[in-house]
């Protein structure tokens, strides 16, 4: 039995969604033109005016916004409303440069919380549920977003924030939390703690909504098994409000993007060209209902695929795949887009350690891709034939994932430097 928070919107026929997007886009472009000088200047530089945008088909004419723009416009440059109309800010924990600060009117907060409520209901949440929000509260959007969504659904909301595992587990058992919202890594940690302390019988969790970090299907299964729950993915960025831009339904095969609020595009990260449905590329969002921070064509740098394939849950909104990597990490090898994360996925699937290094080079005008993988005691065998077979299998799995041939180089353990902060995963000799 599918659950919807706003059924008339979530199951709206595609033509109606598109009509709604058209109408909202035109209004939004005008709003931005009138109120955001930074973006207006970008439009003028491209020779575009609001009159050039008559429908979604004209979206490609608009300039992109990137994280660099947000830094440059810090703090008020992209503000679309008078500060007196704003009620909240959130901010990203940027590792480099200036922070990004996003603004919200009460209306923005309302719509964002609706999106989070849709995610909670899609995960089976009702007003009977106890929603345990263990995302960080504060500048980070995770806590506030799911907290607000939980209120809208009418769940009993536990504003736990992150950390203090003893207290998390105490409330979880004493108050019977049924839905856990946190990052997947924290969920895995809590699951491990519950498992170790033998608390499995004392918890009532049935679902988890985990986002804000990359996580694999293996991790999902692990968390689901340990906690006896269904684990759902949720997607969002501070720049586009926060979690809830897209969320997973019962089918667990991608996240429905809330298309009444966002127009999603997939572009070629190199050229900016818009790619057709089903193509892998960089995800770009245009917020069509946001007032205070109305970003048009914001480049997320997340690489994924969009699909309009009919979903068994009955929702009609487009689905995005789990992000496969960051456009900044993308390598183009023999004309094919390759992401280190894809290689990592194959290694983990095949039982190799995730400690690897990719060497790209150009020999006789042709790109070469070599993946250095550390041998493990489990993989090692006294038989060279056996090692060669495993190597062949790995090469075949990489070929299937990447679409191009990669050479595998097995190296001794601890040969590849362990990460102190960030490991050097890619050595691209072509640039030298």
């Amino acid at each position: 039995m599918p659950n919807y928070y706003q059924p008339e919107i979530e199951t709206m026929p595609y033509e109606d969604i598109r009509a709604l997007q058209n109408e909202r886009l035109l209004k939004q472009v005008r709003h931005v033109w009138d109120n955001v000088p930074y973006y207006r200047k970008k439009m003028e530089e491209k020779g575009v005016t609001p009159d050039d945008i008559q429908s979604i088909d004209d979206l490609y004419k608009l300039p992109f916004l990137s994280k660099d723009d947000l830094r440059e416009a810090y703090p008020y440059g992209l503000l679309g409303m008078p500060l007196s109309e704003c009620v909240r800010i959130h901010s990203t924990s940027g590792t480099t440069g200036k922070r990004v600060v996003a603004f919200y009117t009460q209306h923005d907060v309302d719509l964002w919380e609706d999106c989070c409520a849709r995610a909670i209901v899609a995960a089976g949440g009702t007003k009977e549920d106890v929603c345990h929000v263990a995302y960080g509260y504060g500048l980070f959007t995770g806590g506030a977003g799911l907290h607000g969504g939980s209120h809208k659904v009418g769940c009993l909301t536990l504003p736990m924030s992150s950390g203090n595992t003893d207290r998390q587990l105490q409330f979880m058992t004493d108050l019977g939390s049924t839905i856990l919202c946190c990052t997947p890594s924290y969920a895995a940690y809590l699951a491990e703690s519950i498992y170790e302390r033998g608390l499995r019988d004392q918890i009532k969790l049935k679902a988890g909504i985990f986002g804000a970090e990359a996580w694999s299907e293996d991790m999902r299964r692990d968390i689901e098994d340990k906690l006896g729950i269904k684990a759902y993915d949720i997607y969002g960025l501070t720049e586009t409000s926060g979690p809830g831009v897209a969320f997973e339904c019962s089918e667990q095969t991608g996240m429905h993007i809330n298309e009444d609020h966002f127009i999603a595009e997939i572009i070629n990260p190199e050229t900016g060209e818009v790619l057709p449905e089903g193509s892998k590329g960089e995800l770009v969002f245009t917020a069509i209902t946001k007032e205070a921070f109305p970003l048009l064509r914001y480049r997320t740098r997340d690489i994924c695929v969009l699909t309009r394939k009919k979903c068994s849950c009955g929702r009609t909104h487009v689905k995005m795949s789990k992000p496969m990597g960051r456009s900044d990490d993308m390598l183009i090898i023999r004309g094919v887009n390759v992401f280190p994360s894809q290689i990592e996925t194959v290694l983990l699937q095949k039982g190799y350690p995730a400690n690897y290094q990719i060497v790209v080079d150009r020999v006789n005008n042709s790109d070469t891709l070599e993946v250095m993988v550390e041998m493990t005691p489990e993989m090692f065998s006294d038989s060279l034939g056996q090692i060669a077979r495993m190597e062949k299998e790995l090469v075949a799995a990489l070929k299937a994932m990447l679409g191009i041939m990669a050479k595998v180089k097995l190296v001794a353990p601890k040969t590849i430097a362990r990460s102190e902060g960030k490991a050097v995963r890619v050595i691209d000799k072509r640039k030298i």
Partner: protein, 143 residues
Amino acid sequence: MTIHQISVFLENRTGQLAEITRLLAENNVNLRAISIAETADYGLARMIVDDSHKASAILLEHGDILSMTPVWAVEVPDRPAGLSELLTVLAEGDVAVEYMYSLFTHKDGHAYMVLRITDEAAFTAAIAGTDIKLVGMEELGLK
């Protein structure tokens, strides 16, 4: 009556084997046989040492990847056709030898060969009734 063999993974890097043998020497482990198998990209060193438990502990500590494999040690007369006679017997018994190499030790006009044969039944059947003599760890002074 197999004996212990240590196989160590070698990546194709100069000096790695020297490092391993030096490590064993420093710890007073006596290398009684060694054989290298390799491809263009990696290889493995198969070794018979006087103290396999001590050697494997040292190598593991050093971060090497290894496996212990049971192999057969066979006495071979140290004269022309010595090895040929053994191999003929095995061939007639349809015994597949994955690899073999010789032990450094010679004694009383005999040499020793190390053989990797997985089909134990076929092997013992083939040498039954012949004068092929297997030697054990103790006889070779191994532990």
